[in-house]
């Protein structure tokens, strides 16, 4: 009986990790990690989706490996192993992208894909995965990836519609285009507005639950 309660608690704890990183404590909007790729290349939705997919492909296996091996390794070795593994995975990602998906996309993104390796993952994976349970780690990195993917897709969709009047290269039927939206400053502005919206929603939600709790009492 007691074990079942533990299981349930573990389940909720890991789910909480996932939701936390994806939405309520969003890795980009609240923790401000991984801003560089979003600001630099989120100009079309395709770029955004490819970046999110690459992040997932690198981050999830990597965090699992680090969770399994992290305790075995001495502390000073972890960053080095992490960097080598990330680079290997990224080489694979870029190869698949260039060979099988789209050479043009790769040409636009090849500066930024390697940046994933030293970006938002670094602090999290090395610091977090090595000390946690593998399941928790995977949940955490899935949550982070989803959070990153949501934000980069939202920003890039908005920017694509505003800049080119298209979405996923399909015209959406707006005549009005602002060519300046491809410049980095608009990404900063959009991120700021998204972050503000998220904070506002968070406050609303917590106020709602607090009120409910007071009513119950």
């Amino acid at each position: 009986m007691r074990k079942k309660g533990n299981m349930r608690r573990e389940f909720w704890r890991t789910t909480h990790l996932l939701v936390e990183n994806a939405v309520t404590n969003n890795i980009v909007l609240i923790q401000a990690l991984g801003l560089c790729p979003i600001i630099a290349i989120s100009t079309t939705l395709q770029n955004g989706v490819v970046m999110a997919a690459c992040t997932a492909a690198v981050m999830i296996p990597l965090s699992l490996v680090m969770a399994l091996l992290g305790n075995v390794m001495p502390k000073w070795l972890r960053p080095a192993v992490y960097a080598i593994l990330a680079s290997l995975l990224l080489v694979g990602c870029s190869f698949i992208l260039e060979r099988y998906i789209s050479t043009e996309l790769y040409a636009g993104l090849h500066h930024f894909i390697p940046l994933i390796a030293v970006n938002l993952l670094y602090a999290r994976t090395v610091g977090f995965s090595s000390i946690m349970h593998p399941v928790a780690t995977v949940m955490d990195s899935v949550g982070s990836t989803v959070g990153f993917g949501l934000v980069i897709c939202a920003v890039s969709a908005i920017r694509e519609v505003l800049a080119y009047g298209t979405l996923w290269s399909i015209p959406v039927g707006t005549d009005f285009t602002l060519p300046g939206v491809t410049a980095p400053f608009t990404a900063f502005i959009l991120l700021a507005f998204l972050a503000a919206t998220l904070q506002w929603t968070r406050q609303r939600i917590s106020a709602f639950f607090r009120r409910k709790g007071e009513d119950e009492e």
Binding site: L178, P179, G180, F193
Partner: protein
């Protein structure tokens, strides 16, 4: 530091007087432009003004601020300033985009009147400069005596255009224009920026009324004069060079409207002095080596970002200086 904080914390009467002065100045400039180009500049300004008020109303509703804050007039000043920086033949959606950006992005999210970090009008015009340089920098010729048609979107092929002074300077050419013509505003440019003598008169008037601070304006013009004297435009007579530099782009206009925004400028007199000098230097730099023929707004945004630091450091420096002197005197005694 003094207890006076922003214009919003002065007495109500003071804010409304400042706003009234600014609106008066804007209207004078608009009328001057209307004399040259027909009533179209006034139309552009009116559209800009209405957009500003509408956006401010929406932002007040969203931000749950009392609606009477719309009527404090600062939004109107922003709208009119954006309108004054448009070309008289601009499509009317351009000032609408600029003003909406100024109010919704550069002003309201920071907390509205008195709390904005950047000058909203400069932000709006900077966006337009970056996105639509074609629209912003095509000016109608001043020689053609016909008034511009009042259509909302002009047929550009019907209007005789002219290369502005700033664009001529940008290409390295020396504009063949008389000193007197510059002083009389007899050259083409944005709506509010060509009335040379009127702008100077307005500066004096606003200084007398304490709406703009002499601690900003005088160092600003002094630095401009010094730089143009030290580095004249391609072996030109320094006086001509100075007048040309003032007349081209938004340089003179910025000295009256943009750098004097009491919210974004420093509060302490020494900070204001440093601010004036730095903004003159940056504006000239943007004007001469920048990518656009009028990069003033980018310079204003940059210097706005540093205004609080300038304020703090200058105050600390001044305090230390006077305080140390006092201490030394005490020791000597």
């Amino acid at each position: 530091m003094s207890n006076k904080k922003g214009p919003y914390l002065h007495t109500e009467a003071r804010v409304s007087r400042m706003v009234f002065d600014m609106i008066l100045a804007a209207v004078v400039l608009g009328v001057f432009s209307a004399v040259t180009y027909g009533p179209r500049p006034l139309l552009v300004m009116a559209i800009s003004l209405i957009t500003a008020l509408a956006c401010e109303t929406v932002c007040c509703i969203i931000g749950r601020r009392p609606l009477r804050m719309v009527l404090d007039g600062t939004a109107a000043v922003t709208g009119l300033t954006v309108g004054l920086l448009m070309s008289p033949m601009v499509d009317t959606w351009v000032p609408m985009v600029g003003t909406a950006f100024a109010i919704v992005v550069a002003k309201a999210p920071f907390g509205g009147t008195g709390r904005n970090v950047f000058n909203p009008a400069a932000a709006g015009v900077a966006l337009l400069t970056y996105c639509f340089p074609q629209q912003m920098f095509t000016y109608p010729s001043i020689q053609s005596q016909h008034a511009l048609p009042m259509e909302l979107i002009l047929d550009k092929s019907e209007v005789v255009t002219e290369v502005s002074l700033a664009a001529q300077l940008k290409t390295g050419a020396i504009p063949s224009i008389d000193r007197l013509d510059i002083l009389l505003g007899n050259y083409t440019g944005a709506i509010g920026t060509t009335a040379f003598l009127i702008l100077l008169t307005l500066t004096c008037y606003l200084m007398v009324r304490r709406t703009v601070s002499p601690w900003i304006v005088i160092p600003y013009f002094a630095t401009l004069a010094l730089i143009t004297w030290l580095f004249p435009l391609s072996s030109m007579n320094p006086v001509n060079s100075f007048l040309l530099q003032l007349g081209s782009g938004y340089v003179l206009f910025a000295g009256v409207f943009l750098i004097n925004d009491p919210v974004t400028a420093p509060r302490f007199w020494l900070g204001r002095l440093v601010y004036g000098v730095l903004s003159a230097a940056l504006i000239l730099l943007m004007q001469r080596v920048g990518r656009f023929e009028a990069g003033t707004c980018f310079a204003i945004l940059l210097i706005n970002a540093f205004a609080p630091i300038i304020d703090r450091w200058s105050w600390h420096g001044w305090y230390r200086l006077t305080h140390l002197r006092q201490k030394r005197e005490e020791v000597l005694e």
